[in-house]
Each structure stands twice: as C-alpha cells, then as structure tokens.
C-alpha cells in the first residue's frame, strides 16, 4: 500500500541546512495497523506530512497504491488526500463554526461526486463512532474524546484506504485515549482500513501489530 524508499528531507534554517529525514525506507501493506514511534525531534512529524502528501521530500521515492506520487501536481495531490487518506490530528482540527455532522461532511465539499454520499452516510459514521446523539453540537460543546471521535468519523467519510493519525491520543487522558485506540483497532479489523499512527507513547505503540521506531531521521530496525 505504502512504499517509501530512501526518503530524505532537509530544511534550510538560515544559512545552515538541517537534514530531518536521512533516508527512510518503509513498506506498509494493506490492512496493517502500524505505529511510527520515536522521541520528539526524530522527524516523525515530517514523515507523517510526507505520507499525508502535505509535504514533498527532498529526494527519494514514494509509491501509494503502486503509483509514484512525488511528481504529481498540487491539485492532484489534494484529490488523492481527499479520496484515499483520512487524517486524524492531535488537536482534532474540527472547524469551530460547524456542527459535528457538518464537520464530518466537510471533505465531501471538495469532491465532484459528492452527490453519491448521502447525509445518512455521514450520520451512519457518527453512529459508528458513537456520536450520533451529538450530531448538531458544535466542537466547543464536546469533550476532547468526543471531538476526536467526530474527527475520526470525518476521516472515514470518503471511504479512505488509509487512516493517518498524528498523536491521536496525545491530548486525551489515558482512559479516553484507550477508547480511541480501540476504535482504530476495530476499524482496522472490521473494515480492513490501513491505519498508520504516529506517536511518542510506547503504550500506544504496543497496541499495534507492528512498530517502526525512528531515531535521528532514520527508522531503526
């Protein structure tokens, strides 16, 4: 599903060039539940941005569903993000002016074929994450765990093959974080969705089938 080879990324900070990723190679098969773990500053966020097609590497090759995506133009990358990748962020990133249901529907706004997704489809996803009774609530009226559930429903709305979660439990206490992890495991087991979780928490990483550990811009075997 994902095939990264020799991904390098460097930033210019003033006159100095900082190598954040120093040749990351990683394969993720369809249906895997994998965590990428490492201390902060190891480059895992940069890797997540590259996997999520929000950033481009300086060099290397990245195949998504057997297609090289690095040379694709910006609009096409947006389309791939929309159709294939569901994002879950540490700070949920729900739009505060929209209700839970409207937040779930938001990615549909950017599809030409949005008409084939009904409101019932979005409601069904809210039900799936246990938030059906809060559909009309604004994010500010929801707890952190509830907001993250809504964000997961939003990530699922376009039926993606991959869910990319960046510290999904980082802002939640352990119990709630555990519930969110259960949800990911369920989605992975029942729907066969590939889940990539980026975390610095070994407790979270341990719950995944596979753990890739990063240190200083490389994945350590």
């Amino acid at each position: 599903m994902l095939r990264l080879s020799e991904i390098k990324k460097s930033y210019h900070i003033g006159p100095t060039e900082v190598d954040v990723l120093k040749g990351v190679s990683l394969n993720v098969d369809k249906g895997e539940l994998i965590s990428i773990m490492g201390p902060s500053g190891c480059g895992k966020s940069t890797l997540m941005n590259i996997i999520g097609l929000l950033d481009r590497p300086t060099s290397g090759s990245f195949e998504l569903n057997d297609a090289e995506v690095l040379y694709t133009n910006d609009d096409a990358l947006s389309d791939i993000r929309n159709r294939n990748i569901g994002f879950v962020f540490q700070q949920y990133f729900l739009l505060s002016k929209l209700s839970a249901l409207e937040n779930v529907e938001l990615p549909l706004m950017y599809r030409d074929d949005a008409a084939k997704f009904t409101r019932e489809h979005s409601m069904e996803l809210l039900r799936r994450v246990g938030m059906a009774d809060r559909a009309g609530h604004r994010p500010s009226e929801l707890s952190g765990g509830q907001q993250q559930r809504v964000a997961i429903a939003r990530a699922l709305v376009c039926n993606p093959a991959l869910i990319l979660a960046d510290e999904p439990t980082g802002a939640l206490d352990t119990n709630v974080g555990g519930e969110i992890m259960e949800l990911f495991k369920e989605l992975n087991a029942e729907e066969g969705i590939t889940v990539v979780i980026i975390t610095h928490d070994p407790g979270i990483a341990r719950q995944c089938q596979r753990v890739a550990v990063m240190r200083n811009g490389v994945i350590v075997p």
């Binding site: 947006s78 939003r154 376009c158």
Partner: protein, 405 residues
C-alpha cells in the same frame, strides 16, 4: 466545489465577525452610494435642463445674424469695415409667406441703455424689441395687462417681466400698469406684466428680467440697433431640416452673402447632452474615489479574515481542498460582502438623490443605469479587492497553515 455550500460558509463567516463586517460594509455602502447619488443626480439635472428646453417645444429654429454685434475683432481693434448686412424687418416678417415650412416668426432686437424707474436704476432689466408673435412662440404668459401688440409700433409702450415688476414695486410704484419707466433716452409706459417662467432652455434671454418694447421702437432708439435673433416656429408636419434649408435659401436670395446661422433645438440638445455626460462622468469619478476607499476596506477585512483562519485553511487543504477551492471560498466571501454593500449603497444613493432633488425642487427620476452600475461596480470591487487576499489564502503552505494558531 459546491458554490451553494461556499455561499453558506461565506455568510456564516461574515456573520461570525459582525463588527468587522459592518465596518467594511460602511465603507462600501458610502462608496457605492456616492457613485449612485452622483450619477443619478447628474441624470436628474440633465433631465431637468432638457425639460426646460422641451417646454418650449422642439419645433422652433433660432436664426441669428452672423454679422451681429459680436463680430470678432482683429488685432484688438474693433473693425467696422465689413459692411453690415443688416436684416430688414420687412424681410423677416415675410418669412412665413415665403417659406412654407415656417408658420410664424418672432424677430427681436437687443436694446441698450440703462433702465430706470423714478430716477432709480433697475438692477435686473434689459430691453428687447419684439413683435406680437414673440409671446406665443416663446410660450410666455401674461399675468397682468397685455403684451406688446403690432399696433404699438408708434407707441412708447412696454410689457415687463415679473422680476422687473417686483423691482418697480419695491421702488414704490404700487400697481405697475400705466407707470412710466426709462430705457436709455426713451420713456415707456407699462401696459402688461408677463408671468414668471423657468429660465434657460431655448430662450436665450431672461424672460423674467426683460422689458419688452415694440421692435420698431427698439430699432428707432439707437442707430446701432439691429435684428439680432429671430425665433421661427416650424409648420406642423415639416421637419426642422427642411424648414432650415428654406430659411437659408430665403436669406441667400435676399442678401448676396448668406449671413444667417440657423440653429435647431436638436443641435443644442445634443450639445447639452454631451456636456451633461461630461458632468455626470466627472461626478462619477469623484464618487469612485470613495469607492476605492471602500474597496480597500474590503481588502483589509479579507486579509484579516485570511490570517485569522490560517488553521482552517490548513485543515481544508488537508481534507482535500485544492488551491482553487480556497481561493473561490474567500472570493465568494468578498463578493457577497461587496454585493450586500452594493444593495445598501443603492438604497443609500437613491435615497440621497430623492432628498436632494426634493430640496432642489427637481423632478426625481430613478435611473436604472445607476442601479445596474451599482450592482456591477460592487461585484467588480469584490472581485478586484478580494482577489489578492483570496490568492494569499490559496498559496498558504498547508503544513504552515496547520501549525499556526
């Protein structure tokens, strides 16, 4: 991208920062409003002066002697060498019989000399020598007494304009009929007063400030006096051009040089409309300055809105919004803002011109052009001043946008 959803989003976003939206609206309302007010007042003034014009009818020709008093001087000296081809009164009076296209003529002679009553100068009074037909052709009305008659040729009688009558009364004349006033060396007995009429238009004299005497009296009063202007009414069913050609041919047959100039109201109206257009354009340009200020206000609000919503832009980009989607979203927002401003501005501008024309006693006309202009211009302002912020938003790097708070 669904435009409907974008419009909903835009309205929601504008409502969520009401204070800022209202401030931007004030700018755009004043801008559009002043353009509308300026343009529609220009239009109203134009209609107003044309109305004064048309009141006299468009079937009149003005015939002027080209070698009249206003002959151009050469080398600073007044040249009297050119033989003055004075128009003879008899020739003028024969026009309706000689030219079938003309039904009536009213020649006039500008008199000179100060007018006074009881030894005191009349400030606003000029003398014109006329014939009986002058009253009808110029659509003047008598409010008291009678107008000069063709039988008055050998009498020193005059009919005076309403302002002259008022001035005489303030000088203590009481009833002006029968009183004598002096113009130059001659004394004239007042036999009538004309009703007050609007000035301007086809009448090239101030009807309310004139002392009308019989044309022969005026010609007699001074050696310099000559027929300077003839107003001719065109017969029904004859075009102004045909009548004009007949008049020109007639004068050519009378004098060796064709010495008259014939002006039809169409020409004057066309010239006036041209001037009025310039005037309206000027007013519109002044209004546009405030429109630019309003537009800058819109741009400012949109820039603030973009920088406040950087994270939202990042989220939308991550969820699959293309650059064009983001640009469209902000552009729609600024267009909606400007259009609301435009509609309010139209109401404001039309309201202002109603009030102004009410106080100026002008006839209010709603010009559909001004409204179309308002809608069009506000749309253009929205696009023009919204494009830069929208482009800024669309060019944001999604990662940078997501990290900002």
């Amino acid at each position: 991208m669904i435009i409907g959803a974008n419009i909903k989003e835009a309205v929601r976003s504008l409502l969520s920062s009401k204070q800022r939206t209202v401030l931007a609206l004030i700018g755009i309302v004043i801008g559009i409003g002043s353009v509308i007010a300026m343009v529609s007042i220009g239009k109203i003034v134009q209609e107003e002066s044309l109305r004064q014009f048309k009141e006299m009818g468009t079937d009149v020709l003005t015939i002027e002697s080209q070698f009249g008093g206003g002959e151009p001087s050469t080398g600073g000296r007044i040249t009297r060498s050119a033989p003055k081809s004075k128009i003879k009164l008899a020739d003028v009076l024969a026009i309706p019989t000689e030219c079938p296209g003309i039904s009536a003529v009213a020649p006039s002679v500008r008199g000179n000399g100060e007018a006074s009553y009881g030894g005191k100068k009349l400030q606003n009074a000029g003398m014109i020598g006329v014939t009986e037909s002058f009253l009808g052709i110029n659509k003047l009305k008598i409010s008291q007494g009678r107008f000069i008659s063709d039988l008055d040729a050998h009498n020193q009688f005059c009919t005076i304009g309403s302002m002259v009558a008022t001035e005489m009364r303030t000088l203590g004349s009481g009833d002006v009929i029968g009183k004598k006033l002096r113009v130059g060396q001659s004394l004239y007995t007042v036999v009538g007063v004309t009703a007050e009429v609007l000035e301007g238009g086809m009448r090239r004299f101030q009807p309310n400030e004139t002392i009308y005497v019989h044309i022969t009296s005026a010609l007699r009063s001074s050696r310099e006096a000559e027929i300077s202007e003839i107003i001719a009414r065109v017969s029904t069913g004859v075009t102004n051009t045909v009548a004009r050609d007949q008049v020109l041919a007639y004068f050519k047959s009378k004098t060796k040089k064709s010495s008259v100039r014939v002006t039809s109201p169409e020409e004057i109206i066309a010239q006036m409309e041209k001037q009025m257009q310039m005037f309206t354009l000027l007013l519109g340009a002044i209004g546009s300055i405030s429109l630019i200020v309003g537009g800058v206000g819109v741009m400012n609000v949109m820039l603030v809105s973009v920088s406040e919503r950087r994270r939202e832009i990042g989220i939308r980009r991550a969820l699959g919004a293309k650059r064009g989607d983001i640009r469209g979203q902000f552009l729609i927002e600024s267009i909606i803002l400007s259009l609301i401003g435009g509609v309010l501005g139209i109401l404001f501008g039309v309201g202002a011109s109603v009030i102004i024309s009410h106080f100026a006693k002008w006839h209010f006309v709603l010009s559909s052009g001004a409204i179309l202009l308002g809608v069009g211009v506000s749309n253009a302002v929205g696009i023009f001043f919204g494009y830069y912020p929208a482009r800024q938003a669309s060019l944001l790097d999604p990662i940078v946008a997501l990290k900002s708070d």
